[in-house]
Amino acid sequence: MTDATDGWFAGRAPDDTGELRAAIRTGAADAPADWPTAAVDAGFAADTDDYYARLKTATIDAAREAVAEREGADDQQLLHAVRAMDDASRTANELTERCTEWAATQFDDVASGVEGARQLADREPADPVKERVVALATRIDDLASEADELRGFIERLAPEVAPNLAEMAGPVLAARLISLAGGLDSLAKKPSGTIQVLGAEDALFAHLAGRGSSPKHGIIYTHPYVNGTRPEDRGSAARALAGKLAIAARIDHYSGDFRPTIHDELDDRMATIRARADDEAADNAEGSQ
């Protein structure tokens, strides 16, 4: 049961603003109570009006401090997290190749891939060589687990940092776009044509140097709206998606609130693009009759 000692003001002096701010931010209670009366009884405030005036100052202070902290670094944390996730899973894969090759000389029935390494990690080594192989497999298991943990972290963090971008692109692709641009503010300043080919810089510069055609999509290829669209319409799909992603990044950077309308607009546009394939199929069916 909650008693007065759970209140944010309990045991604190009315003029100790730092303590009160921290109490608002980090305190907790199982259940609410009649805090205004409890505060007056405890001598924290002269009357309820006085209590509400103090509450107003403390809540505004606490919220301002928390906003400053959370706004400051979040997109940078996301950038580090996604790069660390990619490094961890790439390294796990590289070590897996080495480990599988080595393990095949020591054990029968070694499965390939990270899953195979995970199974190896559970084995009991019988001699010093096998001990090293199993130890290596254990490191791979740890690295792959850390990559999974990082993915979970990104899935929680991305909707906070960029709610619209995360909803539209999915949390991981949103984090990759922010990482490729170097931050949410630089992503918000990029034109949609640049966002469309982020991650395809080699192909883009080869094209600008006169070699090859211009890339239709960069990292956004991993989005189902691009890779799930038939090849002849993929350019249109990538252009439409990149356009809305650019808008989503700008809303997230400059305003931060969630706007359902842009997501509906993209869904409509994609339905139109994908209807082309159905229309053509219908035309062909008619033409052949």
Binding site: I24, R25, G27, W35, L55, K56, T59, A63, R64, G256
Partner: protein, 210 residues
């Protein structure tokens, strides 16, 4: 048409009768003297009032508002009500909400997660008259049920259910049905109405704590 409290009036803006409250303007809304227009197209609670739902927003009522965002709606609530606790999870809209709160004696901003009421139970008082909820997250019913602890026995829940937040692909009516059913764990539903033409695929619900 329902009776409005003293703090809300119908006044003429742009040749139409619209709702208005008294307070400092927040989002560039039209004003008439000290009255400022409450735009039902930008506020689900405003739309519920326009639809004549029995929202029970009375002068001096005590309110917990979940999902305050930039403070568009909560500013009007605080103009009318008494102590108003405004919970918002995202830092960016909170920055705007802070400006709104600075200009009002009775508005207390809290940067907290509405799904974790224990993290603000040490600040928000008990026996509140109203719980207003406008959060765009899955599990809107369980948020309302978890926060029923702040309401007085006859306290009311004013909830705007957003179909798209629960399930993008499902039929909105099916989503509304499921959320309303989940609400009955802690509430008795008094009134429910769609918020068209002000808000597409939203259902306004007024419920009493069981």
């Amino acid at each position: 048409m329902i009776d409005l409290p003293d703090g809300i009036q119908r006044r003429e803006f742009d040749g139409r009768q619209r709702l208005a409250t008294r307070g400092q303007p927040v989002y560039g809304e039209p004003t008439d003297g000290e009255w400022r227009c409450w735009d039902a197209g930008r506020s689900k609670l405003g739309a519920m009032l326009e639809q004549g739902m029995p929202v029970g927003l009375t002068d001096g009522a005590s309110v917990l508002y979940l999902g305050a965002a930039s403070g568009t709606t909560v500013s009007h609530v605080a103009d009318v009500a008494g102590p108003t606790y405004a919970v918002e999870f995202a830092p960016r809209p909170m920055r705007d909400l802070l400006d709104v709160a600075e200009a009002r004696e009775n508005l207390f901003p809290l940067l907290k997660d509405a799904r974790k009421p224990e993290t603000y139970s040490h600040v928000v008082e008990s026996e509140l008259d109203l719980l207003v909820q406008d959060v765009a997250t899955r599990g809107q019913a369980s948020v309302a049920v978890d926060n029923a602890r702040f309401l007085a026995d006859d306290g009311r829940l004013l909830l705007a259910i957003k179909a798209r937040s629960e399930d993008v692909t499902a039929d909105p009516e099916a989503v509304f049905e499921r959320v309303c059913e989940d609400l009955t764990e802690a509430y008795e539903i008094i009134d429910r109405q769609r918020l068209e033409p002000y808000h597409d695929d939203h259902l306004g619900v007024v419920a009493r704590k069981r």
